[in-house]
């Protein structure tokens, strides 16, 4: 049911933490199933210096928070803005049908991050 990417990111959630001096927060929620991911960012000088998250929901959505943070932590904002959607498609590996809503959440997290950077 769970691929290696999900197992690794669920079992070792290295970015699951809170940031005291966050400059931005991105939050996503699904009102029906209740899955929720909250990402805190510290953006400075065009670089995402810190990215941490808290997630509530299925194992795949918890892993999604960690995958997202691991990809953006230390990244230049310009790289995020020029990111191709196709790059996101494989970040969670092969998913069961019941886990696909997490890939949608991952896409939305990137969209929200790009919007956050754009309005800064």
């Amino acid at each position: 049911m769970f691929n290696d990417i999900i197992v690794k990111n669920f079992s070792n959630p290295e970015f699951a933490a809170e940031i005291d001096n966050a400059t931005n927060t991105i939050e996503l929620g699904n009102p029906v199933c209740g899955d929720r991911i909250k990402v805190q960012l510290h953006i400075e000088d065009g670089v995402i210096k810190k990215a941490n998250y808290a997630a509530w929901g299925c194992a795949t959505s918890l892993a999604t928070g960690n995958v997202f943070c691991s990809h953006i932590h230390g990244a230049a904002c310009s790289d995020i803005q020029s990111m191709d959607k196709a790059n996101i498609e494989n970040m969670l590996g092969e998913l069961d049908p019941s886990q696909h809503h997490c890939l949608e959440m991952l896409h939305k997290l990137f969209e929200k991050l790009q919007h956050t950077i754009a309005v800064q």
Binding site: V7, S11, A16, P31, A59
Partner: protein
């Protein structure tokens, strides 16, 4: 610690005692109370030892309290078993609850209450094997259904596949000849439900299944439109989910029963409410006297609200602690946020084991309802927008 001879005999034969007990519900309810308690304690002690040895989070919690498997030797020691607060299942750190690796998990089930934060319970294939047998055995024991039509006044599992309440009710559909889900896209149209019941007239014994608040809506519609139905001999109303609406208003069980009799023609002994918790594998189902019997291999310990280390006597209210030996992937030793009482004395049904009365969700809980409450709130919001349903319960 020595297991009871009956458990040892099963093990000697290579039979899993858990698999044996979940399919022997009727036989267990016939045992003398002391014998049942011994069997139950043996299973729970085995389970406690497994989780202590395989779950760091739980082991640390036990060690903090100075408890290890050597301290739990028999039924009288069960009260010492450390409990996991149910809020942990909702926390962002609920991955710590796993006693098995994530690769062993087959199924995730959720319940989303009024806080909107889902409680996630993870089950391995072994737990699913047990839970499926356990739930069907309890349905057979207390509902005795093997045919008929089910009017499901709730959404389908297709719409909400991971919601525990719907999953448990949907299992019942496998025993029926036909069924229909009457809540679609979070909309319930009572006229459609009544039309469906009429379609099945004289073809099937018709049962109505769903959370109390939605069946109450159907009853209110019948009342307000002056309609009465006479369902069939053997028809049942089967409810699962809280009796409190999202507004906080309680649905009176007595009023509900009277309305079922008046508007559906179903007497009180045909109304069977189920207590279940997505985080455990226990179900407690009403017998014909409207008294809930706890799954005989699960132990309910009712704790003093002011001192959770103490139990209250049967008949007194307290916080429910559940010791569930069927939970193999996460510890089944759970402190709920439900206030209940155990029913004292002998059961008129002749069954041994524990019987319980659900009182209410603890006032200190962040949730006052289960996923049914969340569903109701969503339905009311949508209906207020669309003005789709003519009934306000």
């Amino acid at each position: 610690m020595h297991a009871s001879p009956s458990i040892m005999s099963l093990k000697d034969l290579g039979i899993d005692p858990l698999k044996a007990v979940v399919s022997s519900v009727s036989e267990l309810y016939k045992l003398p109370q002391d014998t049942l308690n011994t069997i139950k304690a043996d299973l729970i002690i085995d389970s406690f030892r497994f989780h202590y040895e395989n779950n760091k989070y739980y082991r640390d919690a036990c060690n903090e309290k100075g408890i290890n498997p050597a301290h739990i030797q028999g039924y009288d020691d069960l009260i010492k078993i450390p409990l996991i607060p149910i809020a942990k299942f909702k926390s962002a750190s609920n991955h710590e609850l796993l006693s098995k690796p994530l690769t062993a998990i087959e199924h995730e089930m959720r319940s989303t209450g009024t806080s909107g934060i889902p409680s996630i319970s993870r089950r391995c294939s072994g737990t699913i094997d047990l839970a499926v047998s356990a739930i069907y055995a309890m349905y057979r024991e207390f509902l005795g259904i093997s045919k008929g039509a089910g009017l499901y006044v709730c959404p389908s599992t297709e719409e909400i596949p991971e919601m525990g309440m719907i999953k448990a009710l949907n299992m019942l559909a496998g025993l029926l000849d036909t069924h229909r889900f009457m809540v679609k896209q979070e909309r319930f149209v009572p006229e459609d439900a009544i039309a469906q019941l009429k379609t099945w007239d004289k073809q099937f014994t018709r049962h109505i299944i769903g959370p109390p608040f939605l069946i109450h809506r159907l009853l209110q519609f019948l009342k307000q439109t002056g309609q009465t139905l006479k369902l069939d001999k053997g028809s049942m109303v089967i409810t699962l989910g809280g009796w409190k609406r999202f507004t906080g208003q309680m649905i009176s069980r007595r009023e509900f029963s009277l309305m079922c009799e008046e508007y559906l023609g179903i007497p009180a002994n045909g109304i069977r409410d189920i207590y279940a918790l997505v985080e455990s594998n226990v179900v407690a189902i009403d017998d014909e006297h409207q008294v809930k019997h706890v799954s005989p291999y699960v132990h309910f310990s009712v704790r003093d609200i002011n001192d959770l280390s103490k139990e209250v006597p049967a008949g007194e209210r307290g916080i429910l602690a559940i010791l569930d030996p069927l939970a193999l992937a996460t510890p089944g030793m759970i402190l709920t946020e439900d206030i209940v009482s155990l029913v004292p004395g002998e059961s008129p049904s002749g069954r041994s084991g524990q019987r319980m009365e659900y009182i209410m969700r603890a006032p200190t809980s962040l949730e006052f309802g289960c996923c049914a409450v969340n569903l109701e709130r969503k339905m009311d919001e949508d209906e207020a927008t669309e003005n789709a349903c003519p009934v306000t319960a």
